[in-house]
Symmetry: C2
Subunit: 215 residues, 2 copies
């Protein structure tokens, strides 16, 4: 059946998007205001988009998976800097703790019992327990109604030593990161455990396979 | 360990991004050129970003998961229209077939044995076998080096009848869609089967939990 997005409400469009565009990677975004107060919150309207420069994008709106994005977006607009940490299975409860609608005076990282580590190139810290953290500066802000698409240029990436298989070849043990993705509803996530391998094919391989099938 | 993105090559940055930002949802993008020749290819630099307007984003570059994005991007630039279909587990081999580096004269949908269904609001068709298809028009193109971030406004969404639990409430049976996400390497994907529920908490629920723990 067809849902006409030109006549639906924004709330209904949101419902349909978050129930279908899955699994979504999760950005655990750490920012700080000009006074140095740190904010952290998870966002699943998130992905990588480019490599030269390396660009990641985050949709910040009034109804993300996390709490009101007021603090995150205001801090990014004020400072132009943010850290994107990724979320392993063992930290899902801490992640959800940082999504509680605390007042702006609450330090979500302290509430969740998480460790701040200093970043190398920007002021906002990274979450010590997270196996991957990207230090970002604003590349472009794209307004889309009450959402703002924050495009960030990645200046540096930290990866937990035990997940780096070959530093010179930039070879990461992705399964070892044990990351989770966002699914539907108020609280469904997916683990990255049920994996399948479907290698890409060259044209010659495809033709051979087709001929064998027709054979 | 830290990877300094300001000194790494674009290829190394790409390697690190695709090995860490997981699981990525997959856009199976259908476009057509002004003569009506249809093109289809999968992209995993993809997500939803906004609901009012509903905006999805796709990173099209020289080294996406799919083939050279020349055709997809050229068609979007020429026509301003594209269909984003989503990929269930039962169609992964067909998806990989559309990622083979065929010449521009090859109709990937026909090669993969997939059905074209007409769209309601745009010219490019949708893939009949896909349980979700979004009809999109260009919202904005953001250049980022040799990548272009295609932001599309969603005009309509088609969902397979058997996955629509309550049309009036826009309630979708997400697990029934059985979608896959992109992982690392040349061919690793993840199923959305190994799910966990971690409900969000109100401030009161969080305080109660904290007090109980402190016991």
């Amino acid at each position: 059946m067809m849902f006409d997005f030109e006549t639906l409400s924004a709330a209904d469009r949101y419902k349909l998007l978050v129930a279908t565009v899955v699994p979504r990677p999760i950005a655990w975004v750490v920012t700080q205001d000009k006074a140095g107060v740190v904010n952290a919150a998870p966002y699943s309207f998130f992905n990588a988009f480019a490599d030269n420069p390396a660009v990641v994008g985050i949709g910040c709106g009034p109804r993300p998976d996390g709490p009101s994005p007021k603090d995150t977006l205001a801090n990014i607009e004020a400072t132009g800097q943010f850290t994107v940490c990724l979320v392993p299975h063992r930290l899902v409860h801490e992640m959800v703790a940082t999504a509680v609608e605390f007042g702006p005076e609450v330090d979500e990282l302290a509430e969740a019992g998480l460790t701040r580590l200093p970043s190398a190139k920007i002021a906002p810290p990274r979450i010590g327990e997270s196996p991957v953290a990207m230090e970002c500066e604003t590349f472009q802000l794209v307004r889309a109604g009450h959402h703002t698409i924050v495009l960030g240029k990645v200046l540096a990436m930290h990866v937990a030593d035990e997940a780096v298989m070959d530093p010179a070849k930039r070879y990461i043990d992705t399964p070892k990161l044990d990351l989770v993705g966002r699914m539907h509803g108020r609280g469904w996530y997916v683990r990255t455990t049920d994996r399948i391998e479907v290698p890409r094919l060259t044209v010659a391989e495809w033709q051979a396979r087709k001929a064998a099938k027709a054979g």
